[in-house]
Every structure is written in C-alpha cells, then in structure tokens.
C-alpha cells in the first residue's frame, strides 16, 4: 500500500473505492459486536456464508460484519440490502429461509421482523423502527454500517476527510478555535469545554506532548464506548490525530480495558491500517506532522477512568488519582502536557471539523450542543444505545426510543450518570436532558448510563447498590472516600434491614456532604449522589423503612414476608418447591408459610400459578420479639 501523502491522493483513493463497489450485490449487514456475538451472531454469519455457497448466491450477496447498532437486546441483528430489511433475534436455523426467500426472491419473512410492543405492528425496515426513528445517529453514524476492520469502508463513508481538511487548510489555532466555537463538551461526563482544554495544553511550551483517548468505560450497564471502539475505531483515531496536530502532540494512547478484547482487536487493526495508509506515523499526509498511537490496556479498575488515575496506570503505576493542579494539560502522562478526552469526544471532533460548527450547534441545546449517547437499560421495553440530540426529554428517550416501561408498569425513577449519578423521580420526565440540567437536578451526565426503574424498585436498595459499587471501586487513597462510603453503606444496610434510626438520615446527609467536599477525585466527590438524590426525591421511602419498618416497593428482604392468602387452592406446588420446607398444608387446603423457617427466597411467589396468585409479599410489620431474638442476637 502506497502511503497517502496529499488530500488529492485521499480523494482519488476514495473515488476508486466507490467505483469498485459492485452495486449488483446485495449487502447483508450482520452485527458482529460483542452484544450480538454473545447471542450467537458468529454462528449466524458462519451458517449464512455456507448457505450462500450452497444456494449459489455467493457472487450476488456480500456479507458485511458490522459494528453495534445499539439494539443488542434483539440480537443477533441483520439488515438486508439497500433498504435495510431488519431481521432480529436470528438463529442459525433461520438462515436457509432468509437466503432462499429474502436474498434470492426478495420476500420478507414476517416472523423475523421487529414487532412494536405498543402497536403490535411488524416493522420491515430499520429506519421505521421507533427505537431508531427517534434517534439522530451522528457519532454512531457509521457503526452498524461499515466493517470496522476495513479502513476502506471508513474512507468510502468520508473518513479521514476531516483530517485532510485540518492538516491541509487549517492552522492549529484555527482547529482549536473551531472546536471552541462548536461548544463541544467532554463526553466522558464532566462536560468540560474541549476547546478550552486543548488551548491550555497548546499554550504550554515543551518538546513532547501527549493525547489520550479514554476508553475505560466502567459504569454498570453502559457500553457505548465499547460499541464505538468496536464499531468505528477510525473515527476515534481521526479525532485524536486532529487533536494532536492542534496541540502539538507527537504521541497518543488509547486506554481501553482488557475486558474489551474485540475493541482492542479492532483498534489495533485500525492503528495498523492507519499507519499503512499514512494517517499515522511520520509526515502525515505530507504535512510534516508526526504522530503515533499506542494502545494501553487497563486491568479493569473503575477508578482508572479518572484521568489522573488513568495516566498513572499508563505509566505502570497503581491506578490512583492525584490532586489537580497540576492539570494534565500542564503535567500529564510522563510529566508532559497531555490532553485526555473520552473516545466519544474524539469521535465528535472529526465530525465537527468535517461538517462545520453550524452543523454541530444546530443540534442540542445552547450550552450543550450536539448529540449524546445514552445506554438505556432497566425496566424499559427496548433497551439499548440511543443517540439523541442534547436537550431531548427523558420522555422521548424512555417512551419514544425505549417504548415505555416493561409490563406497562408505572415509571418510578431514572438514574443517570453511572454509579455516581443521581436518581430522578418520574415527575421530572419532561425535563430536557443536558449537562447543566442534570447537575441542577442532582444527577449528572456521566458517561451516559440511563437506568429506568419501575414502581417495584426500592430506592433505598438502589442507593445502597450504587454505593456498594463505588465503595468497592474506591482506590483507597483518600480517607473520606475509602472510609466514608463504607460508613454510608453500613447505614443504608441498617436501614434496609429495618434497624434504621431517625437520626440516620441526617447522618447520611452530613456524611454525604463531607465526602463530596473532601474527597480527592471525582469518584469520591460524586459517590454520595445516589444517596443525596434519593434522599431529596424519595425521602418518604427512607422514612417508611425507618419508622414503619416497611419497604413500600417490597424489595428489602428483611422488611417483607411472604404469606399465602385465602385464594390458595392447595395445589401444593409451592410446598414442593420450597427449598427449606417452610410451607405446610394438606392437598386442596389452605397452605401456610412457617415464618421462622422462611428464607424469603421468593420461590413460592414465583411458582404460584398467576391465575391463582395466592402468595403475596407484605411489608409494614414490626418484628416480633421472638424474631428479633433469632435474627439479631
């Protein structure tokens, strides 16, 4: 491969690549990202290949292994042909039919189509599915479309034109100004203006500078960074090269977790290819600018997503944050000025350079332009990755893309911002979501996790869940975070077990403030957020746990018990399934649960036939003296 050394050479290559596309071929795009692989995409692809050969369609059909479409719940996914007929939940057994019907004859197979949970309508084309229809896929514009292992695919889609533009016609000053004007804010969660960060770094005069792409995604339930790295690695690299050029860096790192082997693989291929094509290395595109990128694999510590801990990790040290200043832009990795941005931020950079400031600011809100990606999970009908303009309301995301709450239950709360984010109540569902609004409400953007919770969720339990995560992932360096989160967690556990005291709420609040104000890094400073927001919006639930010893959502094990109501017909299933033999009763007679034996596993509740529904969860009782004796002494 001859290195591309000018803008024209790239244009020429792109044209020749477009020319070379065989338009007679039907393109079948099968998602081969981690999510779909887990549900068997690789077997599907395998069978598809064999089946095409068997049915003699090899030269009429092209299989493209593409990146994540964000709709992993329905995987393995396949989009056929120019109109993207959308098949979901594929099994190898479905493939012969797809080949013989759809690919050979253009007949759409109804049973493999997506059915809208609301209208029960089968939807044929990808673009008509509400999950996709409501989205504006910019950063994810190419994932799911191109083969991430092919740099040519990326170039055909206009890849590296932004780099060409930047290197050939813009000064570093102009690039930074353009990024500043676009109002791009860090997509890792902090929302710091990217342009300003670059400017700081550019203004430090030293010989060596670094850029880092932070792909250390650690929020439970979030996987957009992974999908991006797996599905479109070149757009991250392109952004990094532009950024490096703008600040004068000569080396870059992509920090990615070792638990993301596919992302590592695709990034490695991408870096190798970019070097081959001359987008990385010496004298990039004939501009005289040299830049290299290395991959650094993290060992899976949540705190390594924090920039100073991440840099410590790159330098081979224990991933522990250090106080700032000095900021990385002044003294970062190896003591040199460093710009560190989330992978999504880097992906946005090339888009802004390519499409211009006006294009970018036309989306989103005034202070938070552009799009943002949420990982919508929890009790929502359609879970997955959703890219929407900043300022979209929770309602549009949850009910538009997500198609509402599972089993049509009521929405209770939405948790955003990962474990350090906040739980917002359903009343705030019409709030437009952007960096500042979330902060006002006590939550944060974080890396974009959005956990939807229905009415059966106990907020005390949720708060303690998130706190147990941050508590365990604290690096242990600073005392407020290491000890304070543990003390808070202990109090929550006590409340959950019905031993809470009235004063505990004030204690929690005071501890939360101490931890927030005194902790060293973002992890500690934000760790109390789930508690603070649940205290703010769901205080009554805490009070119920403490005063009435009841868990209104019927979740906290110590505060509920299972009872069998009059509806019992004495079928004996529960008695048979009870693992501890706590259920007594004769056939066809009312059964009774011996509370002293019951371990509250909930098996009886699950096995009781729904049409009978005799097993009930109840709460709101005070522990009898006898039970106290058994359980607590």
């Amino acid at each position: 491969m001859k290195k591309i050394n000018s803008v024209f050479a790239l244009e020429e290559l792109r044209n020749s690549l477009i020319q070379a596309i065989d338009r007679q071929k039907t393109v079948v795009r099968v998602c081969s990202s981690t999510g779909c692989r887990a549900s068997g995409a690789m077997q599907v692809i395998d069978v598809l290949g064999k089946e095409l050969t068997r049915q003699g369609l090899d030269d009429k059909v092209e299989i493209k292994k593409v990146g994540c479409r964000g709709f992993c719940e329905k995987g393995p996914l396949m989009a056929v042909g120019p109109k993207n007929i959308f098949y979901q939940k594929l099994k190898p057994a479905d493939i012969p039919e797809i080949v013989s019907e759809t690919l050979a004859n253009g007949i759409i197979i109804d049973r493999l189509l997506y059915e809208d949970p609301e209208t029960k309508e089968k939807i044929r084309y990808e673009s008509d599915i509400p999950f996709f229809k409501k989205q504006v896929r910019n950063v994810f514009g190419r994932t799911g479309k191109i083969n991430p292992a092919s740099i040519d695919d990326y170039i055909v889609e206009g890849g590296y034109t932004a780099l060409c533009k930047a290197l050939s016609s813009m000064t570093s000053q102009e690039i930074i100004e353009m990024i500043s004007d676009s109002g791009l804010r860090g997509r890792g969660g902090g929302g710091f203006p990217t342009g300003a960060k670059w400017k700081f770094c550019r203004n430090v005069a030293t010989d060596t500078k670094y850029v880092i792409a932070n792909g250390d995604e650690g929020d439970p339930g979030a996987f957009m960074d992974r999908s991006l790295m797996e599905g479109d690695p070149h757009c991250i690299l392109e952004g990094m090269i532009i950024g490096a050029y703008a600040i004068g860096a000569s080396e870059g790192y992509v920090y990615v977790r070792a638990e993301y082997p596919l992302a590592v693989q695709h990034l490695s291929i991408a870096i190798k290819k970019a070097e081959e094509y001359g987008f990385l290395g010496k004298n990039i595109l004939g501009s005289g600018f040299d830049f290299n990128i290395k991959i650094k694999m993290g060992a899976g510590a949540f705190v390594c997503g924090e920039e100073t801990a991440l840099m410590a990790s790159i330098m081979g040290k224990r991933g522990m944050p250090r106080p700032r200043p000095p900021f990385p832009a002044v003294s970062g990795v190896w003591g040199r000025p460093t710009v560190i941005n989330n992978v999504k931020t880097w992906a946005n950079v090339s888009l802004i350079i390519k499409n211009g400031v006006d294009w970018f600011t036309s989306l989103g809100t005034e202070k938070s332009p552009g799009t943002t990606i949420f990982s919508v999970v929890g009790n929502v009908k359609n879970t997955g990755l959703v890219e929407v303009p900043m300022g979209t309301t929770f309602r549009d995301i949850i009910y538009g893309c997500g198609r509402g709450i599972q089993d049509d239950k009521a929405l209770k709360a939405v948790q955003t911002g990962g474990p350090a984010g906040g739980c917002l109540p359903s009343e705030l569902i019409d709030t437009p979501v952007d960096f500042d609004r979330l902060l006002e409400m006590g939550a944060m953007m974080g890396s974009g996790g959005m956990i939807v919770m229905d009415e059966d969720t106990c907020m005390v339990d949720i708060a303690s869940y998130f706190l147990s995560f941050t508590q365990a992932e604290s690096c242990g360096k600073c005392s407020p975070c290491r000890i304070g989160t543990k003390v808070m967690l202990d109090i929550l556990e006590r409340i959950k077990s019905g031993q809470g005291e009235e004063e505990d709420l004030d204690r929690l609040a005071e501890l939360a403030v101490t931890i927030r104000n005194a902790s060293l890094c973002g992890l500690g400073q934000t760790a109390p957020n789930p508690v603070l927001t649940t205290l703010r919006y769901f205080r009554d639930e805490y009070e119920a746990h403490i005063r009435d010893k009841s868990c209104p959502a019927l979740v906290c094990k110590d505060l509920i018990k299972y009872v069998i109501s009059e509806k019992c017909v004495g079928c004996g299933i529960c008695k048979k399934k009870c693992p501890v033999g706590a259920i007594n009763g004769k056939k066809k007679e009312l059964h009774v649960i011996d509370q002293s034996l019951c371990v509250k596993c909930g098996t009886c509740y699950q096995v009781c036939p729904p049409k009978i529904g005799a097993v009930e969860k109840v709460t709101g009782f005070r522990k009898s003296e006898r039970e106290m004796t058994n359980a607590d002494y």
């Binding site: 510590a301 705190v303 224990r318 522990m320 250090r322 106080p323 200043p325 000095p326 508590q471 365990a472 992932e473 604290s474 690096c475 242990g476 360096k477 600073c478 005392s479 407020p480 290491r482 000890i483 304070g484 989160t485 543990k486 003390v487 202990d490 204690r507 005071e510 501890l511 101490t514 104000n517 005194a518 902790s519 060293l520 400073q525």
Partner: protein, 791 residues
Amino acid sequence: MLTINGKEVEFREGATVLEVARDNGIYIPSLCAHKELFPFGACRLCLVKIEHMRGFPPACTTPAAEGMKVITEDKELHNLRKNVLELILSEHPNSCLMCDQKELCAKYYICPPKSGRVTGCTFCPARDRCELRKVTEYLGLKEIRIPFKYKGLPMEREDPFFDRDYNLCILCGRCVRVCQEVRGIGAIAFTKRGHDTKIGTAFGKSYLDGGCRFCGACVDVCPTGALSARGSKWHGLPEREVTTTCALCSVGCRLKLEAKWEKVMAARPDEEGPANHGQACVKGRFCIPALVNDAERLKYPLIRKEGRLVPAGWEEAAELVAKRLGRYSPKEVGFVASPFLTNEAAYLLQKFARVGMGTNNIDIASAFSGPVIDAHVRCLGVGAGTGTIEDIESADWIIILGADILTSHPVLTVSINKARRQGATVCLIGPENDIILRMVDNLVPVQPSGYLPLLSGILKILVDREAFDKDFVASRCNGFESLKRSLHDMDLEETIAPCGLSVDRVMELASQILKSKRGCILYGSKILESSNPQQVIYLLFNILLLRGSHLGLIPLRIAGNEQGAGDMGALPNFLPGYRDVSDKDAVSELEEAWSAKLPAEPGVSYSEMIRAAGKGALKALYITSGSIPDKTHLSQVDFIVLHGIYPSPLFEIADVVFPSVAFTEEDGTITSLERRVQRLAAVVKPVGMALPDWKIICLIAEKMKVAGFGFTSAEEVFDEICRVNPLISGHGIWSPRPLAKFALTPVEELMWKKSDVVSEEMPLYSLYYRGIDITEKVHDLKLFYERVLGG
C-alpha cells in the same frame, strides 16, 4: 507574595501552600504530607479555601502562586476536617485520643511489652509521638459519632526488626512513598482496593523475601503506631536525645540516639545529617542498642596471672604494660590500629608508637590500607577519595565498581537514587543483587579479574576517540603521551576479552561516561580480589582525569573511621596528613611540635607484622581492634595488649586486656568516606570501668613517663591534631590540596600479573564492629543477612 488568612507572606518558587503556611508559622493539620516526600493529598485534613479555586483544595498539593488568597481556618473548614478525622478515627483505635484522662494516665501506664496487639489506650507504641493525637487535639475532636470498627487484621511480626499492626494504619502512604521515592526500593505498595486497601508486599510475601532492606525509613515516617521498631516500641519517650555519628560504617550518618536509664534505647536518623538527611540503614537504625547494651561487654581491665586473665585495676594493668613494653626495642614492637578508633585515639596511638616506642610499626587493620592508600597518595597526594556525597547527588553518571553497596553502604543508595531521579545514569560493574537493580540503569556483570581489562578497554576508547578534556589534560596532567603510546598498540578486542564482554557492550559503557563531565565512581572491596587492586585505582583515576573531573572518586571504605585513622598517620609509611616518614620537613616539623625524636626507618605493614610475629621477630603487639582474623601466627609473640569492648578469641593469648568504650559512650571525632570530620558525642556513660581508647594510651604513656600525653579531654587532643595535621583544621569536609600536576599512569605498567600487594589475611569489616560480628549480637540482623547474602 500571597495572602494567608489576610496576612501577606513571601514564598519560594515551587513551594506548596502547606509549606508556605508552615514556614510562616501557620499550622494546618495534615497527616500524609512529609517534607522528604512528594505531595500526595490523601488524608484530606489540610483542605483549605483558595479564592478562585473550586471546592476545598488540599494545601499539601496545591502549588503556591502569586496573588493567591488562602484561608486556612474557618468554621466550615474546621467542621470538614473534623468530619474527615472522625472518619479516620472510626477505624483507628481511638480511646487514647478521646479519653479525658489521657494526660494523667500517661504518667502511670503499665508496660505491656509482651502484647503484640494494640487494643486501647495504653497499648500503643506511638502514644508519645502519635501525630494523629496532635491533629485530634488541634481539632478538638471529643467524640466519634460513627460506630468504631476494628479491622481485626493479624499482627505482622514474622519479619525482623519492626512490627506491623495495620489496625492502626491510616493509609497515609508515607511508608510506601519513602520506600519508593527516597530509598528507591519499592518493597511495599498499596494492595487491594476500596475499603480493603492495605499496605503490603507483592503477592503478600514476607518483607525478607519482598526486597525490604530494613532501613527503617517507613517506621520513621509512620505517623501512627502501625509501624514500630520492635526493640524500642515500649520504651516511651527517652530521657535525653543525643545527636552523634554512627561509627558502624564509613558513610557518616548522623543519628539521634535516645537514652533512658543510662542505656541507649533507640536510634533515629537525624534530618540535619549532612550525609544521610534523615535516612539510616538497618545497622544504624536498629542494631545499636543491642550491640552496645550487651551483657558481655568488658567492664574492667584484665591481666594474665598464672595463665588466666583475671580482673585488675587500671593502675595495675597500665603499670604492667608500661613495664613490659619498656623491655623491647623499637623493631620488636608493633601497633595495630582499629579502623573504628576515633581520630583522637588513632592520633595518640601513632604518636605513642613513634614517640614512646620509637617505631613506625603501626598500621590499620584494614584491607583498604597499604596499597590502596599508597595508590591514592601517588595520584592525589593524600590517601583519600576526592568525591563527596553531594558529588554523587549531582552527578550525571555514576559507576559502582566492585561493591555490594546496598549491603555495605545502604545510605549511599539514597544519594544514588536521588541522582538517578534527576536524570543520572547508574552503572553497576561487579556483584549484582536483584534489589540494587531497581536503581541501576546498566548492569555490567564482570568478575573482579575482569576489572583491569574492562577499564583498560574503556580508557582506550576514550583516548582513541579523543573523547577527553584536552585542556584539563594539557594543563593539569603529566604523562599523557606515554599513556597514549601505551594504548596505541593495544588491540581493544584482545584487551577486553578476559572480562567476557563484547566490544559493543564496552563501547556502550564508555559512551555513558562520554556523555557528560560530572561523573562519580564508587569502588568497593571487590577490587581487592582483582589481580592488582592498586592498578585498578590508577585506571579509575586515568578515566576521571581524562574526563577532566578528578573530583569524583569515592573509595567505599568499610569501617567507621578507616579514613580518619589513615589521616591521623596510623600507617607505617606516613606521618599525620600523609606526609612520608622520609619527608625531612615533615619530620622536623613534628619533632618540634612533639618535642621528641622520630624514628627514621619506615615501619612494617599490618600483614608484615603478622608474618614477622609468626617468625618470632616481633616480640610485642599492641592491638586496638578487639580481634584480628588469624591468631595462629601470634603464639610466638611475647606480649600482647588488647583494647576491646567484648571478649574475643584473642583472650586466649592476650596478656593485658583493656575495656574500651563503644562509640555511643565516647566524645571525639571520626572521618567519613567523604572526608567529613564529625563529632561523636557520648550518649551514656561507659560500661563499668571502661575508658576511651585515647585515655588508655595516655595512661600508659604517663606510666612510661613519655611526655606530650597529658590530655584531659578529647577536645584537647583534637586541638593538637588541628595544629600538627595540615589536612584537619576543624569539623567538616577537609579538602585534599590538589597536586599541581596529576599523574596519568601508562598502561604498560598495568600488565595484569598477580601482585602480592594485598594480603589475604586483611579483614573486611562490613559486619564487624571492633572485632566482633554484629550479627552475633543482633539476632535479627543475622536473619536478614542470611537471607540477603543468600544464606
């Protein structure tokens, strides 16, 4: 200029807000900050408010800046700190900090030395020095509202010297940082995460196996009782603290010795120490009390009566010695100077030998005397190195040749590590040790027999490439042409073949030396195993001179005052100040100063003395070193006088034994390997009837009616030294007056034939003090050395 609490204060560039505040007498509570360590920002007690800065930045990590407005104390900060401290104390046994009666109780506490575990108020080894206590008192915390949680971690007592009770640890990280940043060892680190975070070694190994050198730096920086020296943890505060110089090796560490009940209880490194800057090594930090407090110490003079050594009074013993010594002719008497004698004692011993006995038969019982000193005198005019510890710290390249420096001179590795942090390249030639590799850039595994070939090769590369300081060589050196001629016909490959390295490797090493001028070479006792140690030294000098940096050679002398004993003239061929015994001017000067006649004939060296003793030519031996390695030769000697602090194998043949003092009981001076003359200060009284060596010599001189020994204090002796010894004018580093022309030594002279200049009988003192094996007295040290030295 910045403002703290409304007050304008000056600051120096690079200082943190905490340092500026402390410099100006403003207290900010803190636990993790330490002045020798990089800022860390973990304890979160030094949080302050700074205008235009978000939140509560920690004072310890925030760099002071012009115009900054800092508030260190207000209600909000006070509460915040109190809350943080409350969290810390919720995991640290705190009754000792919270109790109303704590002052009263301190007076009457009982001593629980058998208990390993700290559970409450009276059971903490750090109770009198607890930094947590200071902070708690400052913040006025009276109650912990959070339920106390005892971590219940096991006591860690398997390793020698110090106990670790991580139930008291507040994870300030000082120990980890001092081990890594200052000592360059990195034996310990934070392990696990979250609430389970704990300090430990890799894979939970023992400290012995984890590379720990037991320097005690971690114990010294620990603000709590989590780390405590096992030997002294229950002694509480000392009655007095005396700063003196450690005599166990030649580095010259200043130590604060703590005394209680007329015993040395503990030793801590002095932060003001010019050689050690608050650092110590396993011997200085942990071994001194056991060494000097041992029950076997000699308490009274012994004389041989009816074949047995029996106690005697000083008068009787001294008279006996005076009487017997008077019988021998000058040639029949020999004096062995211990390399642990003070300058005063060494000076008086050689004065007594020369004036009282009329003989030059005096030598230091050390492998480094004799040819090594001669080589230095030939190159430099004095029998000393030219480098200082400061030179190590500011060097651009350092070569360690033939020394296991981490064992013999551990504190020097602190300086090497410092230089390395500032960008120096460190090269180790010779014995390797997996721990020292952590602070070495270039390991050159060459056996002592290969030193000469290797150094010659380097020399050839320097000369062939003309990579030498031409001005310096032209103006300050003699013999360059003959050196060049001698190298001309030498084939590089052939020359270096015996050392087993490739030409490329030697080139690489040479290029390191070429890189910059400021170099430092430390050579150790392994050169004595090379075929010709004297010539190794010539080559090292050649290299340094060619690079125009004659200042940088440091011989790694072993014993505490080897340097000083030589400076004082306890040598057969040199008078005080390394003036030759045949130097007429010097002799007449001294004769005038001492009002006595000096012997003209050079004396015999230590090894010759021992050989002569074996043949019966030597009738009397005066040994001040406690013991000597091979006593079998001595059976022919008629009369043996011994100075010592412990019983030794020589007791079988000694006729008179004088109980001397340990360095902790003595006033005087000693001279370190960087030629630094430092004070010894008596910490406690001598054991029993023991007397300092200089007093014993004076006593005998008095009995023999030799004039010029009427000293009443060590100061008086030192004053005389300053008068007669041109090198010494007081305390501090004495500088060798550089020769007008340095001699470059041609390589022809160096054809590596085995020379017999060094006797195999020469003792090496790395584990010895005054003739006794320290490991015999300190069991833990034995444990450590056995492991370290591959026992």
